[in-house]
Symmetry: C2
Subunit: 435 residues, 2 copies
């Protein structure tokens, strides 16, 4: 029993943390509660109740429970799907009903059964088609539901039109209540969330990139204490790796939302998915890079030092490009100096490549000045074979360098995607005040 | 108009392709149609109809539409959630109703409204808790729905118990029909799907790994014609990268399924997620490796040849380890030679490392045999500076090698995860017949 109580306590604690962590979730719950309480109280107002019939009020409650979602886009999407699906199915069902009722009592069940079978199968199949699934999945379900209900109950209930009228009007009452409450009380916009996610992921990417490279070139003897916190920061890129599904659903919902904040109705949300996927391709490289940082073979300090500056320069220039992109998206203004930043990044890459090219010189004698005495040469050539390049040890370093170069290439992909967004969303040029 | 017709035609064609591609989807649609037609015909059987009341039959139809899912696990999960949610909410609602009806007509709406508000908020919040969301999301929704409906309608309808009884029994009829049809007619088991997905992803991983490395070491002058088909094969690892969400939902549903085929009821499905994530960490490296294959800097042929054999050996040994793991999972028998395969892989890695170590020798003269005449030496040392290691060109090659080594390390992670699965699921030892 104590174990159970402890478990329950832990569960409650976790729930509490969740609420403290994101108070908007708590607000959403209160919003759902309010909407339901309001709809329930409809029932107690006799005039309304008598106008619609008790079954009809039930539909309003059901609508609120099923349609109310966390973000505005999802609520609007489900509401429209519900209304359209119900209307469409209602028309179909009335048609089938009129045909069936004219064909005599014996064929009626057969016609109704066959039409339910056919239309339900077809609508279920349409839910597998990706473009339908993304937007009208719920509508197709409601279509099946309403069609079956109406065509079946049409056999018994003769007041079909009246019933349909009541049902549609209660559904409309329910959906409009949901849409109004979700838009007016602390609205959570899917578009805004997608936008925040994108810029936050960019920040995480830069932190990880900078952090990883710095970590690698840090003196191995330095502090280990702040390691844990630091480690968590380095792992930020993992959020980029796993946010594909979240981005897709948000982009799907965002297109149903009316203009809000800085976004107008036809904001190119799909472009954020492209930006996300190009960020992910960077993050894959970062994951591999993280692997070679933790490798056992470590290059000797003096070789590290040779590439230290240029590597750090590549990483810091790369991350300033990403930071600039994040600022572009945050302010929704075309950046005036993104091209010069990309140029700097490319020249840093060039520098790193030059440093790589000159790396073998570290292991060969300065340049063989005036080979004079044979003895001298002999010693020299012996020492040369001694200082033979420790290739095995520097492989992780070279891998790091080449991954950095690859990351810089992929960052150009992000730049292209963001520039496309700039054009599609018609970002303004940044005013030159801040220069 | 013609444009619209063309669009519709294209849409139909796409739908047709989808059906041909996976006939099980078509079968699922027919199953849904059958279930609905059967439930609808209940309505025409007067004895049943009169026993339950027309509203009650509606609940059976609704249940079928809402609960019937593509795979058995999802259907069972939703069915149980629906039944339990309804029962629990019914009890709560009866309690609230009895309290409310004793407190006088004036307070009744207030008590009902407040309780709806509180419980709906709490249940909505519970849907945010990850462990609840994974298993009881639908149940929580049904709880809110039923509680609101019952506590509100309780005010008017006095035959509450009878209504509850009818509703529960129609819901049970609907859910059992769904479960029976989804289990008996061409069942699609989420567990089986997860298992197939895992082994298929392993195959794709090996194909990509082998393909990438072969592609790199192939003579650049060879055939380009079969490039496109080959390219598609190489991209197989991308499926591994994006299958996280699918794996998670399948593992969630699989735990609701009864034993089927070779899997018993408590098969450790969660372990497949671990295997999946360790495969993904391999795929990240493969993605980075793919980047360096397409790099512009290519190592000269003679250096490539030096690492050719050992790299190919590492990749083929790595992929035979993965293949063996796939066979282990496919046959559900402990592999007898996985350890020797891992050993071979590790020794191949060792060999590759040795080859890397000996790489600098390619650029230094054989071993300075009997340095005799000064003139000779002079020529030699000049030629040595000429054949200076082209580090920039071999960086992609070295990166490839180090990524291969990293991949081999990560494959050990897959081996560990699969071994844990072997223990958890109590795989038998493979019989020695095939030796």
């Amino acid at each position: 029993v104590i174990g159970l109580a402890l478990k329950a306590w832990k569960f409650l604690q976790k729930a509490w943390d969740l609420g403290v962590d994101d108070p908007r979730k708590v607000i959403h719950c209160l919003k759902v509660g309010t909407a339901l309480a309001v709809v329930s109280l409809f029932y107690y107002m006799r005039p309304l109740y008598e106008g619609f019939g008790k079954n009809a009020v039930m539909w309003a409650i059901m609508t609120v429970v099923v349609v109310f979602e966390n973000c505005v886009g999802a609520t609007v999407c489900k509401s429209l799907n519900r209304v359209c699906g119900t209307l469409l199915a209602g028309f179909f069902a009335l048609g089938v009903h009129s045909v069936a009722s004219q064909s005599g009592q014996r064929f009626e069940p057969i016609i109704v059964g066959a039409s339910v079978f056919l239309l339900a199968s077809a609508a279920t199949f349409s839910r597998f088609i990706p473009s339908v699934k993304a937007r009208f999945d719920y509508g197709a379900m409601i279509f099946i539901l309403t069609f079956s209900l109406v065509s079946v109950s049409g056999y018994r209930v003769d007041k079909l039109f009246e019933m349909a009228h009541h049902r549609i009007s209660t559904i409309i009452i329910g959906t409009s209540l949901c849409i109004i409450i979700s838009m007016l009380i602390c609205p959570i916009w899917a578009g805004q969330e997608l936008y925040t996610l994108t810029t936050r992921n960019m920040d995480k990417l830069t932190t990880s990139l900078d952090g990883c490279v710095e970590e690698y070139f840090k003196d191995s003897g330095s502090v280990v204490e702040s390691n844990k916190k630091c480690h968590k920061k380095l792992q930020g890129y993992k959020c980029v790796l796993i946010s594909k599904a979240a981005e897709e659903s948000m982009a799907n919902f965002a297109r149903w939302e009316p203009g809000h904040g800085p976004f107008n109705f036809r904001h190119p949300w799909q472009q954020y998915l492209k930006i996300g996927s190009s960020m992910r391709s960077c993050a894959y490289c970062l994951e591999a890079l993280n692997g070679c940082i933790n490798s056992e073979n470590q290059a000797p300090e003096y070789i590290k030092r040779h590439l230290n500056n240029s590597s750090l320069k590549v990483s810091s220039n790369s991350s300033s490009v990403i930071k600039e992109l994040a600022i572009t998206i945050k302010t929704m203004k075309k950046s005036s100096n993104i091209h010069s930043l990309v140029g700097e990044m490319n020249s840093a890459v060039q520098e790193l490549q030059n440093d790589l090219k000159s790396l073998p010189k570290l292991f060969s004698p300065p340049s063989m000045p005036e080979a004079d005495t044979p003895e001298n040469k002999k010693i020299e050539s012996i020492s040369r074979t001694m200082v033979k390049m420790p290739l095995m040890e520097i492989v992780p370093l070279l891998t790091l360098a080449s991954l950095l170069i690859e990351i810089a290439t992929r960052i150009s992909g992000i730049v292209d995607a963001v520039e496309e967004l700039e054009n599609l969303a018609e970002f303004k040029h940044a005013s030159n005040d801040k220069c």
